[in-house]
């Protein structure tokens, strides 16, 4: 009797979970479904119906081809890749060096430097806008991709160093000591022992950084002027002005811009989540 009640209660709970979760996720993702619907409609359909949220009647996938070629989305995406890839590689390389020193060397300023990296990652980074704009101009890198890349590498060092230092410290110290006794140099230990062991955390960091730098709008806005250098986020923001009535083009452009980070996220979801919670909560 009691057992039966228990079973019934579990079934009710489970059904409740599925109902609530389905409703919640469906509700939360309405904006994304909307963007997709709009991206495959013809302009006539959008204007004729006066309801931008309606289900498409006629699926026009050629919108994607059009936005890629004639609106220049292809070039914007390429620009984003050219900015994002070297930024991620650069910041991973440099932060792993810094994290090595902070995790394995003992020196008086160790904690102070770590705090410096953490505090820097938390500031309202827009306050760097004016000085970085002037500095970039001063060293002649205004309106170049290199100017944006160098800023990304430098600014992301804060989070990456903090993140990697925490992971490096979980590596058994005996692994290092043994190599040190064998006479291996610090750099060899870093390159041949620590980096291979840290591959999963480097991957987690790469996924996270890729998404963040891909999605950046502000720094390209401040440091790049010419349209042929602009990344996809800025390209989309500009399309708002120029193609204000071509909702379908903007929508298919948005979908194109979100595809790579989305695929990356789906492939490496566990890493992504682990990265988001580092330093936040123990675990």
């Amino acid at each position: 009797m009691n057992l039966h009640g228990e079973k019934k209660r579990a079934a009710v709970l489970r059904t409740g979970f599925y109902l609530a979760s389905t409703a919640l996720v469906a509700f939360w993702l309405i904006p994304l479904a909307l963007a997709f619907f709009t991206s495959v409609k013809s302009m006539d359909e959008i204007m004729g119906e006066g309801a931008m949220w309606a289900f498409p009647k006629d699926w026009r996938f050629d919108n994607y081809v059009k936005v890629w070629t004639s609106v220049g989305m292809g070039r914007y995406v390429l620009n984003t890749i050219i900015i994002t890839v070297p930024s991620v590689v650069g910041t991973l390389a440099l932060s792993s060096l810094a994290a090595f020193a902070l995790a394995f060397h003992s020196f008086r300023l160790n904690k102070a430097i770590l705090v410096m990296f953490i505090a820097g990652m938390l500031i309202p980074f827009q306050m760097l806008m004016i000085p970085v704009f002037r500095f970039t101009d001063g060293i002649g890198l205004m309106n170049t991709r290199l100017g944006v890349i160098l800023f990304h590498i430098a600014f992301q060092l804060g989070f990456c160093t903090f993140f990697l230092r925490n992971f490096f410290r979980q590596i058994p110290f005996s692994l290092l000591e043994a190599s040190r006794i064998d006479g291996a140099s610090d750099f060899r230990i870093y390159w041949q022992i620590i980096l291979p062991v840290a591959k999963p955390s480097l991957a987690a960091l790469a996924v996270l950084e890729f998404t963040w730098i891909w999605n950046d709008l502000l720094w390209s806005l401040v440091l790049l002027q010419s349209d042929r250098l602009k990344p996809v986020t800025l390209g989309l923001a500009n399309m708002q002005g120029e193609f204000i009535s071509y909702y379908n083009m903007t929508a298919s452009g948005s979908i194109i811009a979100m595809i790579l980070p989305l695929v990356f996220f789906l492939m490496f979801q566990r890493y992504f989540v682990r990265g988001m919670t580092v330093g936040a909560v123990k675990g």
């Binding site: 938390l122 760097l128 992504f272």
Partner: protein, 297 residues
């Protein structure tokens, strides 16, 4: 092995730190200091000479109604970011914190907004807010609430609310992740023990689970405050910073500096923004190191 605070390793750490540290100082710390410097200057153009005007920019700021609009809006962002995503994120984390089949698919789908850029999010939400053909007004009219259908981004009274809602939409999944991580630290036996003791679910929640989640809550609040003070992209994309009624500190700094070429004034706003954030940065750092000590690393 604990790190000793001695210079046992001599110059060796500096060989690793030199380049990253130099870059961080040049692109992050030097600019912070220079912002403070610029805030005390009058700088109508980057090309002109610097004129020191002491606290002139700050005095002007406190008499500038637009500054108060930005400050007030930013406080609204801050309050909404603390009051909405945190309870909601916790609630959803509780919903997802189980081992039902397919649970991971739900979580993955729910995270999705976090991977999108504000440029895209802003664009999509502009269509939702479209007064004539947008989803929100269509929904309200379908419910017979025609009176509530507003020009959300066209009326100064509703603008900030409409923009904050977009920010909240993206923030909730983030807070949920933080709480899900925190819930891993809640021992199942503890919750069960409370059940056997006859504690109801509400008591179990407030007396057992919430106290254990306190560190996650502190971090969630801190991160939400910091994020609310960083709000910029949504405002830039959805109003093109032309709607002055929706401005926050970061966007007012941007328009002052890059549209009105008043870098000194923009820097003064940056300094205020920095000072507001500073306390929360200290809380975050303090919490991080306390956790580290507790976990014995």
């Amino acid at each position: 092995m604990a790190i000793q605070r001695q210079n046992r390793d001599g110059w060796r750490p500096w060989a690793f730190l030199a380049l990253p540290l130099a870059m961080y100082l040049i692109w992050v710390y030097l600019p912070i200091l220079r912002s403070f410097g610029y805030a005390f200057t009058k700088r109508d153009s980057l090309l002109y000479d610097t004129v020191w005007i002491g606290f002139g920019n700050f005095i002007r700021m406190f008499g500038d109604p637009q500054f108060y609009v930005a400050l007030k809006n930013n406080l609204a962002w801050l309050l909404c970011f603390v009051l909405v995503p945190i309870p909601l994120g916790l609630l959803i984390a509780m919903l997802f914190n189980n081992s039902y089949r397919g649970n991971r698919v739900y979580k993955t789908l729910f995270y999705l907004p976090m991977t999108l850029s504000f440029a895209i999010i802003g664009t999509i939400w502009m269509w939702i807010y479209n007064p004539d053909s947008g989803l929100l007004n269509a929904f309200l009219r379908a419910l017979g609430l025609d009176g509530l259908a507003k020009p959300w981004l066209g009326d100064p009274r509703f603008m900030t609310g409409a923009l904050v809602a977009v920010g909240v939409w993206r923030q909730v999944p983030y807070i949920m992740i933080l709480y899900l991580a925190g819930l891993q630290g809640v021992p199942v036996e503890l919750v069960e023990a409370a059940t056997i003791d006859g504690a109801g679910w509400w008591q179990r929640f407030t007396k057992v689970i919430l106290p254990i989640l306190a560190p996650a809550t502190v971090i969630s609040v801190t991160i939400s405050v910091i994020d609310s003070l960083r709000a910029f992209d949504i405002i830039y994309v959805m109003t093109n910073t032309k709607a002055r009624a929706a401005e926050v500190l970061a966007s007012y700094m941007y328009t002052s500096s890059f549209q009105y070429q008043d870098y000194g004034y923009g820097s003064a706003i940056a300094v205020i923004q920095f000072l507001i954030t500073l306390g929360f940065i200290l809380v975050y750092i303090n919490r991080t190191f306390r956790d580290e000590k507790e976990s014995g690393l």
